[in-house]
Symmetry: C2
Subunit: 184 residues, 2 copies
């Protein structure tokens, strides 16, 4: 996902147009739309789209990157005043809540979160840091890895994709995840 600086000016512009078009089309029609539609909206040939983004996932990851960057920024700003475990929980809930803006994103979110996109790197750093803090202060089990969090986020996003009252369900599942199913 590295930015080739050798990219010719027109090529770079096409790349940005494709991402902008993809953003629009994914918002309207979800991740199941034809890539043809994205190319048409961007005003480029379908071949150009394939040249820039070898797979559908690559395009999705690139398109979603900006949103992840923004969320990572929000986290850094807003979570300083929370205690470590609350911040971690807020992070998880926030991530899952953000994942459903494109219909069908959830199915690819695991891939997206490993794509190496700037936004993906950013949320990864923030998440790992929040987890580590919560563990250092003794609140969270030491055998929980960041990949577990990714799994759980993927998991919850996918599981509640077609449910109604999503935020409530997300909060509930996150609560189960944090507190366990056992009575206290």
């Amino acid at each position: 996902m590295e930015q080739k600086t050798t990219l010719r000016a027109d090529a770079r512009q096409n790349r940005e147009r494709i991402i902008a078009a993809a953003e629009e089309v994914f918002m309207e029609q979800g991740n199941a739309t034809s890539l043809e539609a994205v190319a048409k909206r961007a005003g480029v040939g379908i071949g150009t789209l394939y040249r820039r983004f070898a797979t559908r996932d690559a395009l999705l990851a690139a398109t979603y990157s900006d949103r992840l960057l923004a969320f990572a920024q929000t986290c850094r700003e807003g979570m300083a005043q929370l205690d470590a475990p609350s911040a971690l929980r807020a992070y998880l809930e926030g991530m899952v809540n953000h994942i459903n803006i494109y219909e069908g994103l959830a199915a690819s979110i695991g891939m997206v979160l490993q794509s190496g996109t700037p936004g993906c790197e950013a949320v990864g750093e923030v998440g790992a840091q929040l987890l580590s803090q919560a563990q250092q202060c003794g609140a969270v089990r030491p055998d929980v890895a960041f990949t577990d969090l990714v799994h759980i986020m993927t998991a919850i996003s996918l599981a509640i994709e077609r449910e109604s009252e999503r935020p409530a369900r997300i909060a509930h599942l996150v609560s189960i995840f944090f507190d366990g199913v056992y009575s206290r």
Copy 2:
């Protein structure tokens, strides 16, 4: 998913052939195979397959039903001697472990578990019963519903689909789910 008894003998046989063929093909090539391939293996026209199973999910649910029936039976036999919370945990782990025999099943397992298939009914009953028992003896939070379990099973199955060392990860995620992320 009701069994029409008015089904003509040859039609019924075709139905069974299609299911048997689907079982084979799904095992070999996963849930992404063309339905054409299933029809060919079954020795019927593609139109016949569509007549019996209006959607891909319907075929998948029907094909998977037998396995779910068998698992429900195993549960009823083997879990009598476990205490209620352990039985519930074993049920969850068992389900998730069974879900990955067809590649790509996990993505549809939510749908499959709501298809009304005999096997689906069976595992639903067993699961609801185990949950209720674990709650009655005070071990499990009363605000956990059976649909939460379905979500979590879906969730874990999907999340670890392409991971290595699946059983270990499943056990770990189930453990997190039961015990929570907090240190004890």
